[in-house]
Symmetry: C2
Subunit: 380 residues, 2 copies
């Protein structure tokens, strides 16, 4: 552990010791009386975290699998989908939707901007969309979309359109209220603000969306991601009964279960506040250092991560290794058009909710020192 | 650990302490210099374990995802696939293939029999098949297919047909020599004889199959399972370069890496022998106890597991809890037609290669005691 560098990227994030301990649970049958309640209760806890009466899914796979799960189960070939595209992940989700036969319309914004309500509204007038997708936090830019307002517009102007939120980098760090806001699908993964290691694809699906899925006219064109396979499994585990379709990632589920219990025990509302406060602190230091965020305004900057341009004269190939030498792992850029011009810091999970660990301070101090070592002079 | 019951089911199996320790590796970036070689070297080690110069894949997901990976990448809609069906998993693989548009022909055998060479040969005369699938060990029956002889027939009578082996319950415990036997795809998962916790789908694909994949005429109808996405990622990790498509299950890969290193260090050939010896020992005790195996002959009984009928007058609802009380978790039946009539024991991985742990003896002793407690009298 002594040589461990803090993993301050926008996922995977630092995990609680109890979560890691659960990862090392000895071999356990996926239908054993110790495992069944862990998966069953995790499903129940996700309802509380997502504020929904809908159906959570916990499946072995990456968050990317959540795109397939959404596209293959809810979209039938030839249906229109509107993608609010704020960067890398909007492009990719669009490609995934097209794989399953969707006609995709992108509403794009300049890099650093959030989806514009007027543009969404205008697009909805053009044709009928089966679904709209919104990347809640685009991990490539740190841009936060106003999903509440977008959902409001969609519900008003095209009430039948399913509202799909890619919350891979937002669930657990950004406010989401599925049922109250009328959101139909939230896609996420275990390794970001849900605080567990990577390996689990996590979904919340509204009762309305499940109904629309059940009424689909064409068969689901995917086997592993087919909700017809998984719904009986999720229901069985929640009823504390053994069931089998594919072997769950037992240890990862034990770990997620520990983290979800911690999240609910500390309080989801409090978690939102703590992430806002930690983000404000990071953004202030970034600003005081004379650095510029990739998001063009603080009102649409994520609370769980910060994407920051390198200052004039400082290269990422120089700064990132210096940060690592100070014990902090940060991430480089991901948005292809500006990839070499910015870096990304994650501030989610225990690094935020347990400030006594000093992760955020250590990161900001390392940033200051590393910039100085790069020859950068903080503006007075 | 003191209350830990031995997980003697046909996967997940008991893990080595070092494997479990690797599962609890603190948060690590998926593109960090500590993680990249772990995934890169795991790919290389899989080539040694599968005896192939082909392309391994290690992807977050269950073994079931390997069916999708095979079907969506190698089969185009309307192509014929021959399924050697020896039980539950043949039925399911067939359904998966049909999902991606395959015309599936099943060659079925009675419960407990292995695929018959004559029947396979006859089916190959009927039409041209793009691929043949064989469940190497059907986890539902413990039947071992003679993949070497089947591959020989296919190579002779229909050399263009791709040979796909479902090795979920065989890789690491049964002899497989991909290149020498002319096998194109081996599908497996982390939690059986590869000795790591569940959560990773593992594939070996021959160079020939990759070539046929690259020459396909229609687009791949799946996003997450698309080899076009994963080939550059696997190549990058093997070249020890960072790359990103979907976040790998970092801790699970660290764990698999530890187990693969152990397997290669102990010797793959020796591993085959040890599993045969352990299986012979289990089968002898089963026979001496007057119990009957589900496989109809020892020549086609798996070496990594045993499926055994309950004796007259003993119910599974009685025997399995008694085994658990003796600290042994065994599995019930899975083949729907006989599910309540038999149970399954796994004998793979460290339970076999490290006999000093006493897992097999403990299991057999618990079986004897539990049968006696059920009122069963061992025949003299």
């Amino acid at each position: 552990m002594s040589s461990h560098k803090l993993c301050m990227i926008p996922g995977p994030i630092e995990f609680h010791e109890d979560v890691l301990q659960a990862m090392a649970t000895p071999a356990t049958s996926h239908v054993s009386p110790t495992f069944i309640p862990a998966l069953g209760e995790s499903i129940e806890l996700l309802r509380q975290i997502l504020f929904t009466s809908g159906q959570p899914f916990i499946i072995a796979g990456s968050g990317t699998l959540g795109w397939d799960m959404t596209a293959c189960n809810l979209i039938e070939a030839g249906e229109n989908v509107l993608v609010c595209n704020s960067g890398y992940f909007g492009d990719r989700f669009g490609e995934c939707l097209e794989t399953y036969g969707a006609n995709v319309t992108h509403v794009r914004v300049p890099i650093g901007d959030a989806p514009q309500l007027e543009a969404v509204s205008a697009a909805l007038q053009g044709k009928k969309f089966k679904a709209i997708t919104i990347t809640h936090v685009d991990t490539s830019t740190g841009v936060l979309a106003d999903i509440k307002s977008i959902a409001e517009i969609v519900r008003k102007e095209s009430p039948e359109t399913l509202i799909v939120v890619d919350g891979v980098c937002s669930v657990g760090s950004e406010e989401i209220r599925m049922d109250a806001w009328g959101i139909d699908v939230v896609i996420t993964a275990s390794q970001k603000a849900l605080g567990a290691p990577p390996g689990l694809c996590v979904l919340g699906v509204s009762e309305r969306a499940i109904g629309i899925f059940k009424a689909r006219k064409t068969p689901v064109a995917n086997y592993y991601a087919n909700w017809n396979r998984w719904l009986p499994i999720m229901n069985a585990y929640e009823a504390r009964k053994p069931s089998y379709f594919a072997t769950p990632a037992v240890q990862n589920v034990f770990a997620l279960h520990v983290s979800l219990k911690q999240i609910v025990a500390q309080g989801v509302e409090k978690r939102f506040v703590l992430h806002k406060e930690a983000s404000a602190k990071v953004k202030k230091v970034v600003h005081d250092l004379g650095l510029k965020l990739v998001p063009t305004g603080l009102d649409h900057a994520a609370n769980g991560m910060s994407a920051v341009y390198y200052p004039e004269g400082v290269a990422g190939t120089d700064l990132l290794p210096k940060l690592a030498a100070h014990g902090i792992v940060a991430a480089g850029g991901l948005h292809t058009e500006i990839a070499s011009k910015y870096f990304r810091i994650g501030h989610m999970g225990i690094s935020v909710t347990e400030p006594q660990r000093g992760h955020i301070d250590a990161t900001l101090n390392a940033l200051k020192s590393s910039l100085a070592e790069c020859g950068y002079k903080v503006p007075q």
